[in-house]
């Protein structure tokens, strides 16, 4: 590498305080981030393990309840909530690997690194996209429950949409699947995404735009439009829909607080990359911290999805109680005052459909 720092004796015109004398502008120096790295190790591992525990328990319970009630995919919302739980469960499965890798380096080889990174990326994107699907389903469900609403579509379309979402997520996960590798740096092996050198900047830029458009703008646009329309419809429908409206507001607030900061931080970072913008070392560290913390919040959303999207639903809670009591439904007041031989209502009915699900579920 280099020579030993044997000579401290100054010689020649450039020595001591004169190192910078020949240059008008300050010379760019290596940006040390030891403090950020220390924080990152502690933060990422604790967040990953917490969300993994929450996500495995919550989403496992959601899937178990759906399967026990044997009414999966009766409605579009139902199918998509199930897929959301599946995506979040898969994501939660990858998190212990990430935590271990952050703490003591990656020791599982390149193939596992690619598989885990790909699964992480695909399930993260799938979760975001299914949230958009659910918002669309809820809007459609509400409009169909109104007297003048259109006819409901069958579960076939929901399955088709699910397949498309998973394909799209795999597509968005391709970089992670193809280019993740465990590289050595400063004595520690780490699993991360490294792009091959020598790719044209325009190609990278175009691809980055595609990532932002499909992985961010598309689901965000769908969600914003659907919940805005839903809110307007609920407001117009009168006071008995207030509870449903409150739930919508809670969902949107949770999304805005948890997911949006990370998406925006990513967007800004992508803009930096595309514009080849230089930042000072402190600014770069602040950006890293922002990505870390907002990324932790976005992960927390995956752990909280079961609470926000399933447990708030009345019928889900009833089905869950029945599951925990071993199949009896005696003490649970059914919405229509009877105990069905076969569960007829989907356990995943969204809270916004409390009063309207039976209109379109048959």
């Amino acid at each position: 590498m280099g020579t030993e720092p044997t000579e401290q004796v100054s010689w020649g015109p450039y020595s001591g305080d004169d190192e910078e004398a020949y240059s008008a502008e300050p010379l760019p120096e290596l940006c040390y981030k030891a403090d950020v790295q220390a924080f990152s190790r502690a933060f990422q591992s604790s967040i990953s393990l917490t969300v993994a525990a929450l996500g495995l328990a919550g989403n496992g319970l959601v899937l178990a309840t759906h399967l026990a009630a044997r009414n999966a995919a009766r409605s579009p919302t139902c199918a998509h909530l199930l897929q959301l739980a599946l995506a979040d469960l898969l994501l939660a499965l990858t998190l212990p690997f990430a935590a271990a890798g952050a703490l003591q380096g990656w020791s599982l080889g390149s193939a596992t690194c690619r598989a885990i990174s790909g699964l992480y990326s695909a399930s993260f994107h799938a979760g975001f996209l299914f949230l958009a699907c659910i918002s669309a389903d809820r809007y459609l469900a509400i409009t169909r429950a109104l007297p003048a609403g259109p006819r409901p579509s069958g579960p076939g379309r929901a399955h088709l949409v699910s397949v498309i979402v998973w394909l799209l997520s795999l597509l968005l996960a391709l970089p992670a699947l193809l280019f993740s590798q465990d590289g050595q740096r400063e004595g520690q092996r780490r699993c991360r995404l490294i792009f091959p050198e020598g790719l044209a900047q325009t190609v990278k830029g175009a691809s980055a735009v595609a990532q932002v458009a499909l992985g961010f703008a598309l689901p965000l646009g769908v969600m914003a439009a659907c919940y805005a329309l839903l809110g307007r419809t609920l407001l117009a429908a009168g006071p008995e829909r207030r509870r449903a409206l409150r739930v919508v507001v809670a969902l949107v607030a949770a999304f805005v607080v948890l997911q949006l900061p990370y998406s925006l931080a990513l967007l800004l970072d992508t803009a930096d990359l595309l514009a080849a913008r230089e930042r000072s070392c402190p600014a770069s560290k602040r950006k890293d911290l922002a990505l870390l913390v907002t990324g932790g919040l976005a992960l927390a959303r995956c752990g909280l999805n079961p609470v926000l999207y399933a447990f708030l639903g009345l019928r889900f809670r009833q089905d869950l109680r029945r599951l925990l009591r071993g199949g009896s439904c005696s003490s649970v007041p059914r919405p229509r005052g009877r105990c069905p031989r076969r569960p007829r209502l989907p356990s995943c009915s969204a809270p916004t459909e409390t009063h309207s699900a039976s209109y379109w579920d048959h």
Partner: protein
């Protein structure tokens, strides 16, 4: 919207080139050069060098020169003046080795 989707898919297929570090899991803040020197650094203030590649998780590939005062300066890896300094350091290192052995 469908056209945009089609174009985006096409771009993604032809160039699976970009992704954020955070997408693949860990977002590690590596020690990196954020920019490189535009003007030549005089070779006689440099006592060591090393490369920082894209493979090291850095966006800006660079040669890091350690100065006699211990500062780490960032230089572009593709400039002739950088190559000259590196060659000189390698020659000196080889000479030192011969001396000590």
């Amino acid at each position: 919207a469908a056209a945009l989707l089609a174009i985006s898919l096409l771009v993604l297929w032809t160039s699976p080139a970009y992704g954020h570090p955070a997408q693949g899991g860990a977002n590690d803040a590596e020690d990196c050069c954020l920019s490189v020197a535009l003007h030549p650094i005089p070779g006689n203030i440099v006592r060591a060098f090393r490369y920082l590649h894209i493979q090291d998780g850095c966006r800006v590939p660079a040669v890091v020169f350690t100065t006699r005062k211990g500062r780490k300066l960032c230089a572009p890896p593709d400039q002739p003046w950088v190559d000259r300094i590196i060659r000189r350091l390698q020659k000196k290192a080889a000479k030192n080795k011969r001396h000590s052995s």
